[in-house]
Symmetry: D2
Amino acid sequence: MFEEKYTLILSEIKNAISAVDAQQTEMLTERLLKADKVFLIGVGRVLISLQAFCKRLNHLGIQAFCVGDFNEPAITENSLLVVGSGSGETAIPLNIARIAKKYGAAVAHIGSNANSSLKEYTDLMVRIPVRTKLNLEDETDSRQIMSSLFEQSLYILCDSICLMISDKKNLVIKELWQHHANLE
Amino acid sequence: MFEEKYTLILSEIKNAISAVDAQQTEMLTERLLKADKVFLIGVGRVLISLQAFCKRLNHLGIQAFCVGDFNEPAITENSLLVVGSGSGETAIPLNIARIAKKYGAAVAHIGSNANSSLKEYTDLMVRIPVRTKLNLEDETDSRQIMSSLFEQSLYILCDSICLMISDKKNLVIKELWQHHANLE
Amino acid sequence: MFEEKYTLILSEIKNAISAVDAQQTEMLTERLLKADKVFLIGVGRVLISLQAFCKRLNHLGIQAFCVGDFNEPAITENSLLVVGSGSGETAIPLNIARIAKKYGAAVAHIGSNANSSLKEYTDLMVRIPVRTKLNLEDETDSRQIMSSLFEQSLYILCDSICLMISDKKNLVIKELWQHHANLE
Amino acid sequence: MFEEKYTLILSEIKNAISAVDAQQTEMLTERLLKADKVFLIGVGRVLISLQAFCKRLNHLGIQAFCVGDFNEPAITENSLLVVGSGSGETAIPLNIARIAKKYGAAVAHIGSNANSSLKEYTDLMVRIPVRTKLNLEDETDSRQIMSSLFEQSLYILCDSICLMISDKKNLVIKELWQHHANLE
């Protein structure tokens, strides 16, 4: 039963992520490297995937913050906001994206719905073409529960981008640990 | 470049997770279904994978808490503590496991090192056989940075267990959303 | 210097909190006791004061959640949302309050500005009459930095309500610890 | 009833905090100003008081992190760890303090028990002389529930130190907002 389940999950992730436009991920990688500070926003398990991304970006020497962090600084026109939202219609991320644009920051959207309300505030979209909360009836693309496939694909996509950043910065794996928390 | 990276990640996860003993995951699933309350502990990105697990367990009708949550209740002899720790030597999880045993709770360890200090407090281990912080020099099993492979495999393993729970409980996908936060 | 500072803070809190309408706090206490579940929302240090409240409410046997918690359940018409916002204009709390009303939940606002956008969604307001982010120039009421006075007054007000709840429920102090997390 | 409760709380805080040795708070203030990075650790509502402190320290231009933050950096011999623990016996803070000393960092303890296990790792103690979890029977000093008095006193003590830092740095209140998160 376990084998059946992980095989299903990994095969669904592979289908979803191989349908992503690689050029969009290259552009996001460039934006991440160029930004003075990176801010991340999402809700629920989508936020959790971005939190894993946030931690790794910091290990790679990129200053990243989840919105609401205790030491979140002010966003500026040199910053990048990354919004994770399958539907692109989640209220809090929409609000935050609107405010980020007001301060002149760039906004990247990782989501599924290319024609969402977020589009108005978005400089760059990386599209993971899977079902979203808005079209849950459409179960053709995933046999998993709820929005698991988007959350999983987001996690793996972000880790792929981290490996791309690591290459571009010619980082030596052993030296990465110097940025890593060492208190536990 | 993106394709090379996600292919690497997915293939490493597949190797790691297919080396897990399926029977151990069945036993963990049974323990999760039997416990009155489930507690989860880990640090860093391992904790983040468990937080995703925690959210989904609650959607599936299982009362789960990450240690430190604002509404964390008291652990009892009917509870299960799930410890995520590759090395099984992380200080905070070790401490928490020791305290959990003092209260008579069951302790499950998802990790890599089968002969760790955690073993003393562990009723059940699910072993993901990849390198840990303690043997980072041994890079034969992963070309990724840091402990990414353990964190990713843990995430996918936990989501596989969620699908197993969903089957065992005969849950209807559409009805799951009734347990889901609806405020955003 | 330390004495000067804590004397200033305590005297400002006393002024602020003694200007609160006691009847409003009684009504909030009743609502908290009546609700099947309590949800709390705020941002920044206001959220932190509510998190302290959330933890203590759970100790007192009241099911409380901060919006975004890993085990946040669905809000219903029997639930209470408590919004902390000095100005009553903070975007995320406004959104959450609007959604809470849609589900038929009661909404209580603890804030300073009695005529804010939140008013539309509010069943009950507890007003702490101090300056807010919107009228920071008006420094007559506090010599402290930023919105410290609101955050401190909110913290003390919430702890006062907890003592009121403890009395009303005739709770025995020693027995409270049974609801308290015991894993650390 | 509300008046009786807030009067009790404010008078207990005043008693507790006026018994603190002002010189210890001056020394802690100096350490905070001198450190390249500040780390904060505690559990439960004690941690929540430190999180409020963490946020404000960052506003004041001091780099502060709660242990476990997504962007927590490595601690070094130029860093300061602030431990909040009434009893000085809480397992996780003890562990973290031990590790911090291993890396050569300074450790400050804000607590009640002057002769705790933490003493071995502590360079500086600020003592708030109230009861702790270890001597709960001794209820002479507080009529509040659980450890509320320590948590409240810690919150107010930390905000007093922030005002001292603001004075020492000659910070202009209006300019502080430039360090403040602006995304919500």
